[in-house]
Symmetry: C2
Subunit: 416 residues, 2 copies
């Protein structure tokens, strides 16, 4: 029985209205939102989500890291629940869709089921995970990590944020230091709807992304120590120019991405030269390289090549090089059966669909350690995200929610 | 008659003592000096130089831009004088040799002539030019430019410095707004002794540089405008990465110096990326390129190649590029006969000598527009200058002064 046959349909206007309402909490100019994790704005956003859950007669549970989990009870309480969700915290100059769409589409799925009076075999849970962005407290995806169990609760609670306060005191202050235990959660499956945050779907003219996994990430910071000297009096052969080595390595990063092909990304996003004057040979360069690949072996090889090339380029110029890892995540593969399910559901809704990896991190990649998981992407106009100008068309938002509804119902009513 | 035959000899101890005394005025840590032009410290330094000139029974003249010119009258007042000199202003964290050596060696030449009771045919002048460094008021070499005539006096006097005050009010405040006219000065020849401010003499193991000219300088600032995007979600082919174009151009600058050979210098000293975050593709890069060459045609060609390559590299990435010239000076050739004279004199003193261009700017390149000019370089240990650690060995300082004495006497007693 399809959801349409059962008369279960997403109410697009209601979904869009909730997105707009939540977008007003912490609103900033240009359509943007600032709801940094565990701030007063985050509390108000949470209160709104909890109020909507209660309106939908969901059981609301707050766990000890502040994750909000609303449950629509299923017919068979002994079966592990199916979960959807995302987060409602934002970066400092964020948009209204990132994270929020996943939570509010989950609520809309519940509302659609309530409207149709349809009960599922398994319970359906909608989660709003704490501090996915990591913009105030590191690491990002904190709530899902504690929920899943790989980050110890006390470590997370003791985390000091950019303003010098801890997760613990902020959770207590805003009234979201819950009592439900973290870790040891049993789930049947997890599906997350999210905006793409990149330009691929728009560029390809495709409606829906069936997300196959999340890229691995390797962030390295390099420091080059050369010798500062007069740009007019120092012959080229006697230089130890940190900027020359930096640009050599940056060009290598580009060359490496060409050689490794489509899946390999490489970005030099940050660079600082010292003393940074027009007529002084730079004594020091500090810069970062962000490498990403869906394939772990390729990512590891790219990192090895980068480190070897940096040594070689620095040695050639008589410059010292050191590096440290800023972040390192292995690629995550989503569950093939769930990816198939997303793809089939998109087609059933008459939507074009493509398989694609996620370039950004998401709670789904953490929950994938706990149960079969996958994600649904809808297009981001111009690929913009973490930006007040972040935008996804209404039609795409509603289509994404409809596909989420379909997949969740299938999973919650499935035999296995 | 050589100076030695005439019994005229530099008193090394007296020269070193004057360098040490002047170095105490505006002294900063590590052996450095801060005597920015027309500050209280500069006034005290000037007062000391004027006092020494008066002790040597020189005629002291202050001109309207504050240049101090001391004259040791010659036997034939109708002949144009021979001049030496330099400057005593320093950068904010300068050394005790840059500029000061040239002025104090000039005074030591006069003292040596007084000691020996030797009179020259031509008058000998020692100049301390105002604001050579340009560290407080632009342009640098201001005093010599006004003295020579290419910079109008009123323009120079109205120049506003980094602290918002004018050259005029500072000259008046420190009592060095003189009355002697600028421009229309007639000179027979000009020789300036200076530290190299680079590593070449030390690296080559040579005692003295016979300076053949001053390199041309071309400073260009580029601004690249790309598109900021997520480093994880934006495929390489859809990027407009300002940092990638920047590093491409920086590598080209190095390649260009290799292709043009020894005389061509190229430095990327300054770069700023925006927003300068590890996981954001840079939307903007602002950077400088400093090109120098002793050959004007080569410098012009290098600049043309650089601008063309920047356009090409930016277009390939879909990035906008703009540029502006920050400085442009043609190369200056010193007088071949005077360069020969310096070389011969160095050899006569048993010193090794090499011909070399100056990488930095000096008052001599301005006075070269007025009369035959040349410079004598002594080695800078480790090539350091504009740095409290700036250092030249006593032996080299004294040897430089002895060669200066020789060349000045030859020029002041020459037939022409």
């Amino acid at each position: 029985m399809s959801t349409v046959e059962a008369g279960v349909r997403i109410n697009g206007a209601r979904l869009l209205d909730r997105i707009a309402q939540l977008g007003k909490i912490g609103e900033i100019g240009g359509g943007g939102v600032c709801r940094l994790a565990l701030t007063e704005e985050d509390k108000l956003g949470r209160d709104q989500v909890v109020a909507w859950m209660r309106e939908l007669r969901m059981q609301v549970m707050i766990d000890r890291i502040g994750n909000i989990v609303g449950t629509l009870p299923g017919k068979n309480p002994s079966l592990a629940p199916v979960m959807t969700g995302s987060h409602i915290d934002t970066v400092r100059t964020g948009g209204r869709y990132d994270g929020n769409l996943g939570v509010l589409a989950g609520l809309e799925v519940v509302a659609a089921l309530r409207d149709a009076g349809v009960e599922l075999d398994r319970s359906l849970q909608v989660a709003a995970f704490t501090n996915e962005e990591g913009a105030r407290f590191a690491p990002d995806m904190m709530g899902s990590l504690v929920y899943q169990g790989d980050l110890a609760l006390d470590v997370a609670l003791d985390t000091v944020g950019i303003d010098g306060t801890t997760v613990r005191e902020n959770l207590e202050r805003i009234g979201y230091a819950g009592t439900a235990p973290c870790g040891n959660n049993e789930l049947h499956a997890y599906i997350e709807l999210h905006i793409e945050q990149g330009p691929v779907l728009e560029h390809e003219g495709v409606d829906i992304g069936a997300v196959t996994g999340v890229q691995g990430i390797c962030w390295t910071e390099f420091e080059l120590q050369g010798v500062s000297n007069h740009a007019g009096t120092t012959p080229m052969a006697l230089r130890h120019d940190a900027a020359a080595v930096f640009s050599d390595i940056a060009v290598f990063v580009r060359e490496l991405t060409r050689r490794y092909g489509g899946g390999q990304l490489g970005t030099v996003g940050h660079c600082k030269l010292f003393p940074n004057l027009v007529n002084v040979i730079p004594s020091k360069a500090v810069f970062t390289v962000d490498l990403r690949n869906v394939d772990k072996a390729s990512l590891d090889a790219a990192e090895r090549e980068l480190l070897a090339y940096a040594q070689e380029a620095a040695a050639k110029e008589g410059v010292q090089v050191s590096h440290r890892s800023l972040a390192r995540f292995d690629p995550v593969d989503f569950d093939p059966a769930l990816v198939d399910l997303v793809e089939r559901s998109a087609r059933a809704h008459g939507r074009t669909v493509m398989r694609m990896p996620s370039g950004a991190g998401h709670d789904a990649q953490i929950i994938a350690r706990l149960c079969p998981a996958a994600m649904i992407f809808v297009p981001s106009v111009k690929g913009l995200s973490h930006n007040p100008a972040e935008f996804t068309k209404d039609e795409d938002l509603v289509a994404g929610a409809s596909i989420l509804l379909d997949t969740l119902v299938t999973l919650a009513n499935g035999a296995s």
